[in-house]
């Protein structure tokens, strides 16, 4: 293979996948946060529904 400009080609490929990777990481973090929030809200909801019966 022609070796001219090989480093910058490498940078280009690296940058392309880095952007996608960073996006995936932010997606994963947001997923985790949302899941936790959903658990919390569901817990609150169940507590509230259970409360009148206990009384």
């Amino acid at each position: 293979m022609d070796a001219r400009n090989f480093t910058f080609m490498f940078y280009g490929f690296l940058a392309a996948w880095l952007i996608v990777l960073v996006y995936i990481v932010t997606l994963a973090r947001r997923s985790g946060r949302l899941r936790k929030e959903l658990e919390d809200v569901k817990q609150l909801f169940e507590d509230k529904q259970a409360a009148p019966k206990a009384r």
Binding site: A3, N5, F6, G12, Y23, L38, V41
Partner: protein
């Protein structure tokens, strides 16, 4: 006015569907893995082709290979923006928030691919043109595109009420997509530094080696698959957020 009753209905439906959604999400999980796995296999094959089989471009050396990601990334982004526009129209005519979530997810993922396009292009330009950036019309239109859809995400962030957010961002999605077409059409009228159209759908063939052009299209498939799996992930987050929102409302 019937629209205002919609969120209440959907929030009623959202709560009892606990076990059903988890079964659903297993299927969706498998779908994401399937798409991503298929993308990985295709990508490995394409990378082998790009590096080992395809010859070198005469003048540019190794760096011309960036085009195999640069062009498919742009195509993925544009396909995404267009599909999101169609889904926005569907949302406005059905008022089903499902379409809004999907449109939002697609626009966000398309924005990522638009960034991939512009960054790879910039790195290529540093070598071939000697500059990182030029106000060539095609570069400018991609930047305009990124700014418009960044504005779309900003708009979504600044509205809390789901149906209002959905209607306004659908309108922006339609305006933005139509605007891009107008911006894009003006390229052909303006002198330009960017290499002219090379794909044979634009030129009628002849300006690019067919094996190289085929490699561009072949690489579009894995990128689209990656985009689709990211969209599914993102859309699922939106529906989780909706579920949280409706639970919160019922708590109040």
């Amino acid at each position: 006015m019937s629209i205002q009753t919609k969120p209440l209905n959907s929030s009623d439906a959202a709560v009892p569907s606990g076990p059903a959604t988890s079964a659903n999400s297993v299927v969706v999980d498998r779908l994401i893995y399937a798409f991503a796995g298929l993308a990985a296999i295709l990508l490995a094959y394409n990378l082998y082709q790009i590096f080992m089989v395809l010859g070198d471009e005469l003048q540019q050396g190794a760096i011309y290979r960036i085009i195999f990601f640069h062009v498919p990334a742009a195509l993925t982004a544009f396909i995404g923006f267009f599909v999101a526009m169609v889904l926005s129209v569907v949302y406005l005519s059905t008022n089903n928030l499902k379409w809004d979530s999907l449109a939002a997810a697609i626009n966000e993922v398309s924005l990522v691919f638009a960034c991939v396009n512009i960054v790879t292009g910039s790195i290529w330009a540093r070598i071939i043109w000697g500059i990182w950036w030029t106000w060539d019309y095609r570069l400018t239109s991609m930047l305009v595109c990124i700014l418009i859809f960044f504005g779309y995400l900003l708009l979504r962030q600044s509205i809390d009420e789901p149906t209002q957010r959905a209607r306004l961002s659908a309108a922006l999605s339609i305006f933005g997509c139509v605007d891009i077409v107008i911006v894009w059409k003006s390229i052909e009228w303006f002198r330009t530094q960017h290499p002219g159209p090379v794909l044979s759908i634009r030129t009628g063939g002849g300006s690019m080696d067919p094996t190289m052009e085929a490699a561009i299209y072949r690489n579009l498939i894995p990128l689209l698959l990656i985009a689709i799996s990211l969209v599914i992930l993102r859309a699922r987050q939106e529906s989780t957020a909706r579920e949280i929102d409706s639970l919160r409302r019922r708590l109040m």
